[in-house]
């Protein structure tokens, strides 16, 4: 059961990765990286359940925090540099 859920999460990660590579605009890529990060948090929690060690969940918690901060930092960078031009970047 856990293995099947793990494979589904990996499939979802592959789909998000494909959108990060394809996505015509930059915002598609940021969205895909955000989704990949959330799926990685789920994947790490799943590995913690598979191996049986509960302390791997600390890494999942850390990554959930860092994913959020990273995405907001990217968006602030774009907000500041978008004020000087009005083209949606690629």
């Amino acid at each position: 059961m856990l293995a099947a859920a793990g494979i589904a999460v990996l499939v979802s990660m592959a789909l998000a990765l494909a959108r990060a590579l394809l996505g015509p605009t930059l915002y598609d890529r940021i969205l895909a990286v955000n989704m990949f990060g959330t799926k990685t948090v789920l994947f790490i929690a799943l590995i913690a359940a598979l191996v049986g060690r509960g302390d791997y969940l600390d890494i999942a918690l850390l990554y959930a925090l860092i994913n959020f901060i990273g995405v907001i930092a990217l968006l602030r960078y774009h907000e500041v540099s978008a004020k000087s031009g009005s083209e949606p970047p690629a």
């Binding site: 990060a20 191996v51 990554y63 901060i69 990273g70 990217l74 960078y77 970047p89």
Partner: protein, 179 residues
């Protein structure tokens, strides 16, 4: 099986970083590859390394590179032609290295040559000689203390140099504003 899939993701991300035409995209994809590396470390049972990789590679490194990109204009490059001789040399070297790994002993087998000499001494004598229950800490801080001292000196020097450079740039900006 999962290892192979994650390594495949890592390879695809690395190719995408090289072929991306925008620096911000490259920074984001580098964060993504750090994330996949953290998953791989976790699968290899190294929790503290995965912790550090997730925090530093996907968090701090991305933020630092973004704030560095702030100071320069955004760049977009034209698509370049593939340098075929360089690609051939890289593939040849990688292939030879992969061929060399076929001769390695099985991973983490207890009778590997590397586990026979000093590792046994550390594992048996740590409690008596050092008294710290965690063997990794005992090796890093006591048996190999000079190596750790060298690392700290290097990191401290690098941090000091960066602070001096940024301090000088901020001084110049203030002088320019005051004029």
């Amino acid at each position: 099986m999962i290892d192979i899939l994650l390594l495949l993701f890592l390879a695809i991300t690395a190719i995408a970083i090289v072929r991306s035409r925008d620096t911000v995209t490259a920074v984001m994809l580098a964060g993504l590859s750090s994330l996949i590396s953290a998953c791989l470390f976790l699968l290899l049972d190294a929790a503290d390394v995965a912790f550090t990789e997730a925090a530093v590679g996907a968090g701090i490194s991305t933020l630092l590179m973004l704030s560095a990109l702030h100071a320069v204009a955004p760049t977009k490059t034209r698509p370049r032609k593939v340098a075929w001789p360089a690609l051939a040399v890289a593939l040849l070297c990688g292939g030879l290295l992969a061929y060399g790994t076929l001769d390695l002993p099985p991973f983490a087998a207890p009778d590997n040559p590397v586990h026979q000499h000093v590792a046994n001494h550390y594992l048996e004598q740590t409690n008596k000689e050092i008294g710290v229950p965690n063997v990794v800490t005992a090796v890093l801080a006591s048996y190999r203390g000079f190596d750790t001292l060298g690392e700290i000196v290097v990191v401290f020097t690098a941090g000091l140099a960066v602070l001096l450079l940024i301090g000088r740039r901020r001084q110049e900006d203030q002088d320019d504003d005051a004029k």
